[in-house]
Amino acid sequence: MKLLTFGSSWTQGTGASYTDGMTLEEYKVACCIAGETPYDKDHNNPLTWKSLLAEKNGWELTTYARVGSSNMRNFRKMTEVLDGTDAAETIVLVGVPHLARHELYMNDDSVGFNPSGKGYVGVLYANGYGNNANKFKTKDFDMFKYVKNHYNEQNETEQLQYNIAHWNRYLTNLGYKVFWYDELNQIKYTTVPDNYLFTDKDDRSLMTMLAIDAGWTPEEDTDHSGQSMHQDCKRAKYLVEKKAVNPHAILPTAASQAKIADWMDAAIKAKM
């Protein structure tokens, strides 16, 4: 079997190389900080949950997940690569990132994400974070203005729902097995598709599951933006305190990656 993954840093497994006590500078060298260090060194790390999951099952892994990815990027990459090749022997996992993200084509990519000097750059504007906006340096893209003039969570959810319905039909017709899951926050769909993972949980996002596993008593929480070191919700603070995520980018440690791999394994097998 083949395993193809789409999603953001939580699916990519970024941060798996973090070790307890690592400074921010050490973390930048070992892993990456989105917007500052272009290459994600955990891409091929065997400690990431996607690698552990693939190894456990003998699946051949190809990952299209990337730090800072958006639903827009997920669907673009899926359109490019899911052409029906080996469909009957392929499992597709799609992690749904924060809704307040998209990507822009840059004719002059000064950030350095694209070695050719032009290409797509993720833009993240959850809560209109100015600090992060500056870090990304996406030329002439004013996140505050964008959120005010163009972002609407309800519309993003609605479009996502149509996209998932579209892709479910397309992939199923071709013979793929596809599963969706929420990475950081539970998306408020009107109807959750049958092939969504962890729907038996009160909150099915990986981040909440990790927090509960670490001992967090579920309570009302704000969304986590997934934009580097912002401890912008109760779950983020709790997970940092319990050392289940690193403090520099709020991403799962190697031990947490192993837990997610086990959860994914069980959830996929239950659906198959």
């Binding site: 673009r76 004719n107 002439d140 319905a165 397309y170």
Partner: protein, 263 residues
């Protein structure tokens, strides 16, 4: 029941098709966007009526390729389509367009939804109108617009949708509307694919014995920007104000499409 589902921009919608020779610009403005007149005269209606299909139309004036993909995703995701036959005619428009969601469209408080943004001619055409959507078209073209990338993405989308339609037993065809795009690979069911240029504008002129190849890109933003448009105006195939197909033009397009596919 048979359905003809159409996606496209103003050319497919039928904008300006009620133009009559001798009309003043003001008279033309009054009728150019009239929905019922556009529907009556458009080639999509001519084809649908002739072959007794119900036309489900998602083309509108100013539409972008992105808008068409968005509407198609929603329509096909939410409709089971138990009809006897469904044919999709999908007209690819200028790459120098997309759409943005606006919380206050056209500067109107509370008017939320998608706005078409058009940035042909380096963003100078319609620049003033685009600013009302909080969209700086000149800056966007400079920083983010890349025609080759747009065509590359169209290639993947068209191949993707071909597979999607095959999976649902839906017959579909693609048509380049007023520009020939080099997709780099063979796209199954792309009409006029064996011709030197496959765009409908070229095909209309070719049907009149005129071949204009390697012409400049027509943006269809009320600009007389190509030899093909100049010639089409002279032949009465498009009107002299917005350069959209006339009644004669629409009948010719219907005939040309009819020669390519059996509805």
């Amino acid at each position: 029941m048979k359905k003809l589902v159409t996606f496209g921009c103003s050319w497919t919608f039928g904008t300006g098709s009620a133009f009559e020779n001798g009309m003043s610009k003001m008279e033309y403005r009054n009728i150019s966007a009239d929905k019922e007149l556009c529907r009556q005269n458009a080639f999509r209606t001519i084809l649908a009526d002739h072959y007794q299909y119900k036309n489900v139309n998602y083309s509108v004036q100013g539409s972008s390729n992105q808008r068409q993909f968005r509407h198609a995703r929603k329509y096909f995701a939410t409709n089971e389509l138990t009809d006897d036959k469904v044919i999709v005619l999908w007209f690819i428009t200028s790459t120098a367009r997309h759409e943005v969601y606006c919380t206050n469209r056209w500067g109107e408080e509370g008017n939320a939804g998608y706005s078409n943004v058009l940035y042909g001619n380096g963003g100078t055409a319609h620049e003033h109108m685009m600013k009302k959507c909080n969209f700086d078209s000149k800056q966007y073209v400079k920083d983010h617009y890349n025609h080759e990338e747009q065509v590359r993405r169209l290639r993947f989308e068209m191949l993707h949708w071909n597979r999607y339609f095959e999976g649902r037993g839906i017959e579909n065809y693609w048509i380049d509307t007023f520009n020939h795009h080099d997709y780099g690979v063979e796209i199954p069911r792309l009409l006029f694919d064996k011709e030197p240029q496959r765009d409908v504008l070229y095909q209309m002129l070719n049907a009149r014995g005129i071949s204009i190849q390697n012409d400049s890109y027509h943006i269809s933003q009320y600009t007389r920007d190509s030899k093909r448009i100049d010639t089409a105006v002279r032949l009465g195939l498009v009107n002299p104000y917005s350069y959209h197909p006339t009644k004669v033009g629409h009948h010719l397009i219907a005939e040309l499409i009819n020669q390519q596919i059996a509805l």
